[in-house]
Symmetry: C2
Subunit: 152 residues, 2 copies
DNA sequence: CTGCTTGCAAAGGCTTTGCAGAACA
DNA sequence: TGTTCTGCAAAGCCTTTGCAAGCAG
């Protein structure tokens, strides 16, 4: 049962919003363009779950900074580099999670809201054997929720 | 920790491919049209994970039976009635799982293949407290896999 | 300079929708 | 016969792509 560790270890890359963003991006092999730095500032100001659209809106809140294509390029790049995690819970769009620590999610299907499950509140025991010829790339646990008062 | 039970119990609706499909559909409040019966026959011939596209292809293998619109209508209907479970693991398409028993999945990102995790091979202990005002609608555990030889 | 990035618009893929004709009860 | 369902094509959404202009080092 060591593959969970082997799997998560290399992903723990973290951007500290207090430090210089540009040099942190360089450190992980990303050329720090103006757009990338601004996107990183938003994503890593605190742990967030954002769709590409939300990032686009927030980046350009005070004037045009980055185009839609650049948002997608950058989010994809950050994901490949392990700075954000893609969370697939909604068939209509991908969420990008700037919290790279091991944790899981609640997804409220009524509100579309994605929230963290504190990792100590969930325990996975007895992990399954992986199919032959495969290696673990990630574990996701999603609790789908409904708002109690919602008229389904 | 009783909400897991409360959550899964109502979903255990099962179509037996050996019995008359039409009357089983009626029993859950679905008018058994020719198209729906044929789609059900494919889905419930055995536990399956299929995309809408795959269902479309298989239904029409021996001549035109159902259109794309009807496939989507029917799969959505079956999902609402609890006959199939929607599995969201691939941002590009939804999978429909005709196995309604409680279980979890491996998803091979290289091959796009979705397979079951025998439920006894995975144990969730210490379930999280749900956010106030919400109720559980489902739990999903997804192990993302890579093929070991794949050139990422 | 030289290559990597950006941005625009167009294209793509999956899913939904509108509406006329057909099937079900 | 009234209601529900089907099918076609068009529309919608999110995401990707092509390519010329711009920026980083």
């Amino acid at each position: 049962m060591t593959y969970t560790l082997a799997m998560n270890e290399p992903t723990i890359l973290k951007i500290d919003p207090q430090q210089d963003i540009a040099s942190q991006l360089r450190k992980v092999g990303i050329t720090p363009t103006q757009q990338r730095v601004q996107i990183a500032e938003i994503l890593f100001s605190r742990p967030r779950h954002m769709s590409a659209d939300q990032v686009l809106a927030m980046v350009n809140r005070d004037g045009p900074i980055a185009s839609k294509a650049t948002i997608y390029n950058t989010l994809g790049l950050f994901a490949r580099k392990g700075l954000v995690r893609e969370v697939i819970v909604d068939p209509s769009k991908v969420f990008y999670d700037s919290n790279t620590a091991v944790h899981h999610h609640f997804f409220n299907e009524d509100t579309g809201e994605l929230t963290d499950i504190p990792s100590h509140e969930l325990l996975l025991t007895r992990l399954p054997e992986l199919p032959p010829g495969t290696e673990a790339a990630g574990i996701e646990v999603i609790f789908r929720l409904r708002s109690q008062d919602a008229a389904s």
